[in-house]
Symmetry: D2
Subunit: 344 residues, 4 copies
């Protein structure tokens, strides 16, 4: 079976990761690539200034870019992946869903909407139930599913693994790679020999999205988890891979060994892009490191390490590849889940 997919916003940094991940995917077949009106009509090769460190897939390079608009996008696509700027996404995605398209989106709009599943398959696959609510409330034939922000994805599976110990409060500091801001988001003058202690809106995203992901959906209704999250977000001079220092307060008092086991045993899902083991745990306190460990599991495995007991719980570090597990790969995984669960 082949699922014909369209990539909305296919020429940007995350769009190129989609192309890289999907061009030889076992199920998905790239059938359309869209971009802003200026690029429409060009070949993908010309429209996308290809900057990924593997060669541009020839099968996609020759495709003609179509405009990102509900009219221009063909009806016969089975699934759409979106990495549109959130302003554009906020306009186009609802139109497409109304027209019957199923959209797995990395864009930040509507992530916190009560009837939009915000999903990491290993964490809350059952939130897809919200699609029924969504269809009922919005009168859509299609569906809109979101994945969280890259910094949220890095941390949340580890928090899900710790929830068995009674997760009550989290302090987290991030050391985020520049690719998270897009190709031109961080200038070299800003970041060489420097650190930026602020990423607009990022702290709020981590604080709210994590509570939705860890929350529950019952009878089509969402309840947030009551964990309190305080985040401090920083940009550092690395290319890919967000590292995060987590201090988790737990009601119970697990040992570091018990936490290690809980993280390492966190259950995976049986989807093509999913790593067998979602979280790899290092004994060596010097790991994980962004450059050495971001590509574990083809960039889809999360790493953890540096476990230390604190009076209130545990502190540890976690790492994920921000444009694969944290963006394009996250949407692809959600797309695979949508297929698996029969929504596509």
């Amino acid at each position: 079976m082949s699922v014909r997919v369209g990539l909305l916003g296919a020429t940007g940094a995350v769009g190129q990761r989609f192309v890289q991940l999907l061009h030889d995917h076992p199920t998905f077949e790239i059938a359309a690539v869209t971009a802003s009106p200026e690029s429409a009509g060009e070949s993908y090769r010309d429209a996308a200034k290809w900057r990924v460190d593997t060669p541009i897939p020839e099968s996609v390079a020759g495709m003609t870019v179509i405009e990102t608009s509900a009219e221009a996008i063909p009806d016969d696509l089975d699934l759409l992946f979106s990495s549109l700027p959130s302003g554009v996404a906020a306009e186009v995605e609802p139109e497409l869903c109304r027209a019957g398209h199923v959209v797995s989106s990395n864009s930040s709009n509507e992530r916190m909407a009560e009837d939009v599943p915000l999903t990491i398959p290993e964490v809350n696959a059952d939130h897809l139930d919200l699609i029924e609510t969504q269809r009922a409330e919005r009168g859509w034939d299609g569906a809109l599913v979101k994945n969280p922000n890259c910094s949220t994805i890095t941390m949340t599976p580890t928090l899900a693994a710790l929830d068995q110990f009674g997760l009550s409060r989290v302090h987290v500091s991030t050391l985020q790679a520049v690719s998270g801001a897009g190709y031109s988001g961080v200038t070299s003058m800003e970041i060489i020999d420097n650190v930026l202690p602020y990423i607009g809106g990022e702290e709020e995203k981590m604080e709210t999205e994590s509570r939705k992901l860890l929350g529950s959906v019952e009878d089509g209704e969402l309840s947030l988890h009551d964990v309190e999250v305080a985040a401090s977000c920083n940009r550092v001079p690395s290319l890919d891979g967000h590292l995060e220092n987590v201090f988790a307060e737990l009601d119970e008092n697990p040992t570091a060994a018990e936490v290690h086991e809980a993280l390492a045993d966190f259950a995976g899902v049986d989807l093509p892009s999913a790593p067998e083991q979602p979280i790899h745990v290092f004994e060596d306190p010097e790991r994980p490191q962004p450059r050495l460990d971001r590509m574990r599991g083809q960039g889809m495995q999360i790493s953890a390490g540096g476990l230390r007991e604190t009076p209130e719980g545990i502190q540890y570090n976690c790492l994920a590849h921000n444009t694969i597990r944290g963006a394009a790969g996250a949407s692809v995984l959600n797309g695979e889940l949508l297929v698996e669960e029969g929504w596509v």
Copy 2:
């Protein structure tokens, strides 16, 4: 008045900062420079491969390096500054103090000893009273005074400013510059496009030294502050300037504006190297940044910013130049305090 000072370990990274800071100091005059036996007899110019970005001071360049040993160091020096490796310091410093020398040391040995003042003049100048205890217990004519670790110095003045609100718990993540590990401490292969999530012993230093600094000395006896500190320390690809994300829990509930005022009003000391205002507070959440702000106050002013209220207190960022305010400048300031208070 001129105070004749000797620099122990004058050729290393911190030693060179000492030379840079002291060569035109209003009170101190560099009268001796020491290094390991292999360099003894060489000119300072030859022994130190000068790597600071201002030219080597000619007055020091021609001095002959003497060996770091109690025998070789002349008796007629008024004050010694030490940036020796802690193993060497642990041997040599006590001998020198026994021989009557007053030593202001940046080395990590004995920082937590109960009769050794660990001092930041703006925070706990009164801890110098421990010198009496030290002399009584150790039978020394001289004295040993320490400054804390660079990552501790960056944070502690801000905590001291917040203590009026009832400081009970601190979570802190650091983004530390490579110079903190010495000239050869971090290789380029380790840190380009990367972050190191672990600095051996650093977390423990921050967790214990801060409690001593914030503690009290009464009748020659030290009590630690009962704040609980949990630290997570990271090395990032910046040259100088440690940035720290602090989450402070406070018994009272000050507003961000009240915290801003408390930080900005934190009282300075009247010493030659001390900045008039110890802590500069930025309104702009994007500041402080290491490269732009580390040299405020000739590298001696601490910066803070990014204040956000949390349910339990306040979160904010702070920054200091790690080899000036956090190392050589810290020892110099302690030396100035020792002179001011009549110990030299």
Copy 3:
């Protein structure tokens, strides 16, 4: 005597360097700052997002930005410095010169025009004679003087010093800092763990501007030097300071020692911003290095090193601070020359 100067394009990266260099200049007084229409009316503090690593000068911070247009710029300014984008400069500078203004410009337009002096005071101060030609041909009351491109400035004084040995051919490779492309010119994704082997138009600038600078002006007429220059230009991950590898073919066969002497003895000029010795020559082949040596002579001294004899001449490295000696400082020095020679 105080010369009242206006800064055209005062909020950009080079504009900020102008402010840094001029705010306590012995002769020049900043009397006006201009920017694009969107910023007009704002305070300089608000219009310029200050990114230099010294604090914004308070005397300039409060000035009101005026629009960069011939109408808006007051007549009573004695001298204008321009770091406008070359497209804007090409429109505005001629209007200003026609209106009687003397403009010392860093913008690239008209650098190769036969009646526009392209000047480095230590190299070809006498080219200012072209102003007479310029006025005669263009009917201007004012004057337009240019300084060369940053990569050209770094190399040309060393070539001028070698011309006594019969300079016939030059191969040069550059390792240029990111600040040369302006604040947003090079993204972090482009340059971290990377090198860019191409800078649009830069090679041609080095190849032509150097021949004009080394050329002669007689009876108001310009002759280019007949040296053949081939350049290869690269962007590297450094912030400031262009390093260049030069292979110079010489008719005579000087020894490395003779070349060293020729470089070190190259004559300076007596202007406020000029370093006493224009070129510092290192014996240590590991120097000059951008980070360690770019600030020699307040960023106005050129460094050379690594001299090696080749069968055809000499190879060596040279370095200059690209936004000081290579841009803002170059214009300021030309402004000082214009005052000294009575054109202002």
Copy 4:
């Protein structure tokens, strides 16, 4: 057929690349790993602090490291690869060759010896004929074959491709990655926001090794090519991939298009690790770039670009992965050639 190979110096930076390249090689099977006496007896996993960004191969991780000495190395290995420090190599390699081993070595000792083949298979496979001379003169049963220095390998195949136009003189500037100096060769303090304009001995290596590679072997005797090479070598803040700016003087006057064709058509060899096309030529002057292009052809393809005609010939850029094509991969390719030609 399986060839049992030993890796001499298997724990260093290049040694780890050997393991990465060889652990699933079609012909070679890693049968022994050696290191300095301190590591002998440890597992490879413990002895090598694995720093490559793919996981350590399990088949090698469990092997016991043996000491690098003629006595300890088993006789029954078919082929040895060496990345020993040159001092150690100079002692051990001759002993091993005398004992009958065939050694393909990346170490710099003896590269210029008249009876030691210095080989890049695509350039001068016929130089293996020198083995007969070597055996005759040295009385060895084994053989010693060297590959050139990483910076020489990057450039020389392109020069070989241009030799048809009468190559007479070369000026080359290098922008070399830090991995070329080994894991600890360049400290972070040296290279962040900086460039090092000197690499000890590197310029001489490029100037002499290239002439040997391009030279001829007739009747067991070596003649150097008479091209004159002048090199200027720089270290830049990139991890892997040497970029080089080449100015080649040619007797004939080929167009850029003819040079492009000569480079792209340069003939490959039929060996397992050899790329089908040895040199990829980019039209886009912004390529090749180290980070984007170093892994072309599994790190074994050389890239070229930026062709511009000069009065005397051509200028262009070339790039190769310095620890794959320029070191471990170079030795492996020579090993494959030795097998192919029947020396193993």
